[in-house]
């Protein structure tokens, strides 16, 4: 067996195929650069077999045991999901959000007692993402149920969020269901001086009387 040349760069050392493969897989994850991928892979090499197996099983369970709720399209391990199946929620109000993480953010506030609908994206004409790529048809199907009284659009206050809100509002308007949207204005702890023009315009439109 020949000894490796001293001039060999350190990057070419992990030529152990399974480790290289693991680094490659970590590198695909969001926010993981090549160095972080190496660190994670070498950490796993030193991990106990039980811990490694638990991690591998957790990853597989996410992929195999999880799907979309037939009603709200949120990710869930049962259908209907815990929120849609909860009789104590207000099933006449649907809050429309872009992604599953937005449901978590809104649920933390405990301000909304209704149910949700996850679109899984926003209309983005510049990336050729249209309504047919989102769960818009599924939303309209839910609205065939007469008990729905209000749709709350909780979409990002940016160009794609606004475009999606305008599009959905246009679809729902003929059905005679009340469509509302989250207020846009100044963030708590922010400073007026740095607020942009659009935020200030919306903040003025939504001003409230002090009682």
């Amino acid at each position: 067996m020949t000894t490796p040349s001293r001039s060999m760069p350190p990057e070419s050392l992990p030529s152990v195929a399974p480790v290289a493969r693991l680094i490659e897989e970590f590198h695909k994850l969001p926010g993981i650069g090549p160095k972080s991928a190496q660190r994670l892979a070498y950490h796993l090499v030193r991990m106990s077999t039980e811990d490694a197996r638990a991690l591998a099983e957790a990853i597989l369970a996410v992929k195999e045991g999880i799907g979309l709720c037939g009603q709200c399209q949120n990710i869930t391990d049962r259908d209907p999901c815990a929120l849609c199946g909860n009789v104590n929620r207000d099933h006449t109000a649907i809050c429309v959000v872009e992604q599953a993480l937005d449901v978590l953010a809104l649920e933390r506030t405990r301000a909304f007692k209704g149910v949700y609908h996850v679109l899984h994206g926003l209309i983005s004409p510049m990336n050729d993402v249209g309504p047919e790529d989102l769960k818009v048809r599924e939303l309209l199907r839910r609205l065939e149920d007469d008990k729905i009284k209000e749709i709350v659009l909780a979409l990002n206050p940016n160009l794609t969020g606004e475009a999606t809100a305008m599009y959905i509002q246009r679809l729902i308007k003929p059905l005679g269901i009340r469509v509302t949207r989250l207020a846009r204005g100044l963030p708590i702890g922010g400073e007026l001086e740095y607020a942009d023009e659009m935020t200030l315009i919306r903040a003025f439109e939504g001003r409230q009387e002090l009682s």
Partner: protein, 269 residues
Amino acid sequence: MQPVPANKAFADHVYKTDAIVLRQTSTGEADRILTVLTPYLGKLRLIGRSVRRPKSKIGGHVEPLMHARLMVTKGKSGMDAVSQAETVEAYPALRSNLERTVWGIYCAELVDAFLPDEAPSADVFGLLADTLARLNAGEEGMALRWFELHLLAMTGYRPELQVCTQCRGALAPNRFAFSPDAGGVLCQTCEQANRIEERQTPFLTPSVNALKALRYIQHQPYEEARRLRVPSPLANETEGILRFYIRYLLERDVRSTSFLDHLRRQAAL
């Protein structure tokens, strides 16, 4: 008395520029990469750090289709970063109308596609700012055709609409074709010669009125062109000719047109 030396270190690592945001993509935890059009520095790719957070002091000023004044810090190795931003024009009426929003995105997409990186950009910047202001004021059809023809001219793809592109001869009414491959109109003789030699590429046979309308838009300043009354079949034809030409040049559809078509189909129902 010695003059106070200029603060060179400051001048070297920051610069100020006006910019219209053409597109943005999310990256990292809360950052965005912005593609912006500037009047003097061409098209730039800048990083907006933490602009997706609600309390970002920059985020609201650098949404797509916003005209902002930026202070940019030069990156040591990577991308330059936006360090301050102030809105010059937000085009609020454009943003509150779905069709106009998508047309605005369409214009930004064309600028991004046709203007090469680091190309001079002052005239394109002016054209885009004017067009967004026109969309904001509720003008659509003519403003968009004028934008398309003049953007093509500024970026080197001006279609020849006066004389035959090949023989430079005058055109006879109803005996001409529009060939994107030739870069303009062809007289019947040249068009048939191409067909015989099997050099035939896709072409259109526009109506005389459509050709006249396009020539007028190409040669007149906007204030004159906007007074032209274009009945809707003719407006559709001129839009179709330019879309055909642009698709040929880009070798793909303009992405935002598929949503525009979707909205039109829905409106027709």
